[in-house]
């Protein structure tokens, strides 16, 4: 139920309250109370009225504000009992004590303004019920002394004594009942505070003061009314102690509530800090930490929506179930972007009672989360592209190997057989004329040359030794064929075929370039495998000046190494030799 009170009416309650307060204390001054007691009685009520106005203005939806104001009014009702006006005194007597009931309500409903637990609804209901019942009895049983007529008449005097005695009995009953209910309220407060999380305690701290105020009320009630066999001096001492504690704690309750509000403002300061931190585009785990700190909730979890679905996952991609909406343990704040669910914050329900804080944090987080989601999408696309590049390179390698094998098993084999057949023919033709022998010799020589060329072609496509013996053997074989001295320092371990092929082609291109352009007198090749990365380096002492951006061979290598997820660099200052370096992850 939401009660809408116009702003003017709400503000109008402030002068009305002050007038009500001054009126009450005027009664006391009129009754010659010491001014210190008048002041002590004035302060707590005003504190309630002021705090109530502030809370009401800031949280029009929260019942705490109106409740505080109402409690402020209730504070002064009892004081009017001493009014010279008979009717005012009688009404004040009847409606006295509502302050305690409203205080119990406040304490149990703070900070949301709602009585969330069934037990607290029952207790507040019982408290207010008892007060209404007492009011009813008091209105029915209280008759002004003047209305009795002549008290010297024994019959009248008897009736008066009987009425007074009945009234005292009923009052004692209600006093006991109300004190009992107050004890229950106190117990509920303590239970509630113990069950709070750290985040909740930051907010619910002030209710402890409220609990103390309730306790003071009990002391006052018991001390004044129910001490059997106590002297009147004792009762007076109890009464003063109760009054004193009541005044102090009753002033502190609204102050405590104000502190709660100021903490809310400080939390908004942490939102500003949050926006700055989120601007640094944090990664998912850090984002959770930042949001957790801004909301003061160490238990905060962030659930991300899988794009295009309604499935939630955590930062590591594990599926998450959101708690039920009526869960008392966890609350959920959903974040949307362009009407699409983006993420959800799963947090302590106590934070949900400061909606503007959650709203600010969520708004700041939305940008970061949106950013995170876009980045994740880009990362996924990049990974797709990288994987497809790697597949293309691997498919190319596989195709080269296939062609190499086809050449080996097909053309080469047939040509060798043909060479053999030519030899047989030549052997059989020994007696024939020399021109035939010459022709056969020339054919054999041609065939030899063709076989040699075919062999080099096959080797260039994909050297068999790379598959058979590995990278070290294949590079060694390359080095043997290079007309420039090559120093080798190569780890012998076998690596995944795509890694070996990439490293091999880096070295092959480096050596080919050395022979073609570098005019080097020496080349050093090092291949080092550590920490899951294969580092290939080819350094010559030639003329340098190679440019990866121009040479198609070098650019091809760059592409190839990048496709394997590695890095490729060329250092080639003019006159300072050339170094090719490739770092290839080994999967």
């Amino acid at each position: 139920m939401k009660v809408h009170v116009p702003r003017l009416a709400r503000l109008g309650l402030l002068p009305l309250g002050v007038a009500f307060a001054l009126g009450a204390e005027w009664v006391r001054l009129d009754g010659n109370w010491p001014w210190i007691w008048v002041l002590a009685d004035l302060l707590p009520g005003l504190a309630f009225l002021a705090a109530g106005q502030i809370a009401w203005a800031r949280r029009p939806d929260n019942r705490i504000g109106p409740l505080l104001v109402l409690t402020g009014f209730a504070w002064y009702v009892g004081t009017y009992q001493a009014s010279a006006d008979e009717t005012v005194g009688r009404l004040a007597y009847a409606f006295q004590g509502y302050y305690d009931g409203l205080l119990a309500w406040l304490v149990l409903a703070y900070p949301s303004g709602r009585l969330r637990w069934r037990s607290s609804r029952l207790v507040v209901g019982a408290f207010l019920g008892a007060l209404v019942a007492r009011t009813t009895f008091r209105l029915a049983l209280y008759h002004p002394l003047a209305s009795y007529g002549d008290l010297s008449d024994p019959a009248t005097a008897l009736r008066y004594v009987a009425d007074t005695s009945l009234r005292n009995d009923v009052d004692s009953f209600f006093r006991l009942a109300i004190a009992t209910i107050a004890v229950v309220v106190l117990v509920l407060v303590l239970v509630r505070f113990r069950s709070e999380t750290a985040a909740g305690r930051r907010i619910t701290g002030p209710i402890l003061i409220g609990g103390l105020a309730v306790a003071a009320g009990i002391v006052a009630e018991f001390g004044s009314g129910l001490l059997v066999g106590a002297t009147s001096a004792d009762r007076l001492a109890w009464r003063y102690l109760g009054e004193f504690v009541t005044v102090v704690t009753a002033t502190l309750v609204p102050v405590g509530f104000l502190v709660g509000l100021i903490r809310g403002r400080l939390a908004r300061g942490s939102v500003a800090e949050l926006v700055v931190q989120l601007g640094e585009a944090p990664e998912a785990p850090r984002l959770r930490e930042i949001l957790s700190r801004a909301l003061g909730d160490p238990s905060l979890e962030v659930a991300y929506v899988v794009a295009g679905t309604s499935t939630y996952v955590d930062a590591a991609g594990r599926p998450m179930l959101l708690p039920a909406t009526d869960s008392l343990d966890r609350a959920v704040t959903r974040l949307e972007s362009d009407g699409q669910p983006l993420a959800a914050l799963i947090h302590d329900p106590a934070i949900g009672e400061r909606p503007e804080l959650v709203t600010s944090v969520a708004a700041a987080a939305r940008l970061a989360l949106e950013n995170e989601r876009l980045q994740a999408a880009v990362r996924a696309q990049l990974e797709d592209v990288r994987a497809s590049r790697a597949r293309i390179v691997e498919a190319g390698d596989a195709e080269r190997r296939r062609v190499e094998r086809d050449l080996h098993d097909g053309a080469q084999q047939r040509l060798v057989t043909l060479a053999l057949a030519l030899q047989m023919a030549r052997a059989k033709a020994t007696t024939a004329d020399s021109s035939l022998l010459g022709a056969l010799e020339r054919a054999s020589a041609e065939l030899d040359a063709a076989l040699g060329e075919l062999r080099e072609l096959a080797r260039g496509l994909h050297p068999a030794i790379l598959v058979e013996e590995g990278l070290a053997a294949a590079i060694e074989s390359l080095a043997e064929r290079t007309p420039v001295p090559v120093q080798l320092q190569i780890a012998e371990d076998r690596l995944p075929a795509p890694v070996e092929a990439t490293a091999y082609f880096v070295v092959a291109e480096a050596l080919a370039n050395v022979v073609k352009y570098a005019r080097a007198t020496q080349v050093r090749i090092t291949v080092d495998h550590r920490d899951g990365v294969l580092t290939v380096e080819a350094t010559d002492d030639g003329m340098g000046g190679a440019d990866a951006a121009k040479g198609s061979g070098l650019r091809g290598l760059d592409d190839r190494v990048a496709a394997a997820g590695g890095r490729f660099s060329v250092t080639s200052p003019p006159g300072g030799g050339t170094t090719l370096r490739a770092e290839i992850p080994c999967g």
Partner: protein
């Protein structure tokens, strides 16, 4: 001499068998993969095996591996490995695992039947045959100045033939020199390379090739 041929191409096997028969060899069995090669060797007890490096199923080095394995069981069996390409590593592995009666030639070499038959005879006699391309590549390999530069052209020629596995007599015949002269050259070469005198041609081959590869 009893020979077994192993190659996955029937056409090539038949042609080589015919050529060897013509040269006076007795081809007693043929095999198209490593498993059947073992069976054929067991049943025919040959003196020499001619095997292609690559054979089914993986077409990598099954032929080479099977031959080395068979040699461990039959140390007196000579083996001649043929390959579409020559790799120094393969030669050294072969010579290390089975130093006597081993040959490793490019498959193309069968196109020079006389040379090939000579190599087959050498291997079956316990000698070695290393493909000239392997030797040429190791000798011709670019290196910073070293002992090889001290050799005279004649000594280099002798070293080359020696590394191919030829005997002193054969080298002398090839170069038109006496065996005694060749022995003299070889002593000088070995001392220039700081290699000790080796007993047996095959040991000499391994030592020289290892030296060439390492330098």
């Amino acid at each position: 001499m009893r020979i077994v041929l192993a190659d996955d191409s029937t056409l090539f096997r038949e042609a080589l068998a015919a050529a060897l028969a013509m040269a006076g060899f007795d081809v007693v069995g043929q095999a198209s993969d490593a498993d059947s090669l073992r069976d054929v060797v067991r049943s025919t007890e040959p003196d020499l095996l001619i095997v292609d490096v690559r054979m089914p199923p993986t077409h990598t080095t099954e032929g080479l591996d099977a031959a080395v394995q068979i040699r461990i069981e039959r140390p007196s069996l000579a083996i001649m490995i043929l390959s579409q390409f020559v790799e120094t590593r393969h030669v050294l592995r072969l010579l290390r695992d089975a130093p006597e009666g081993v040959g490793y030639l490019l498959k193309d070499r069968v196109g020079n039947l006389a040379e090939f038959v000579e190599a087959v005879r050498r291997v079956s006699g316990g000698g070695s045959a290393v493909d000239p391309e392997v030797v040429a590549r190791l000798l011709g390999r670019a290196r910073v100045r070293g002992p090889l530069d001290e050799l005279t052209p004649r000594e280099t020629q002798v070293l080359e033939l020696m590394a191919e596995g030829r005997s002193n007599a054969a080298i002398g015949e090839r170069l038109g020199l006496t065996e005694k002269t060749i022995e003299g050259h070889i002593r000088v070469i070995l001392s220039k390379l700081e290699l000790g005198p080796e007993a047996g041609d095959h040991r000499r081959v391994l030592a020289v090739l290892t030296w060439l590869r390492a330098s």
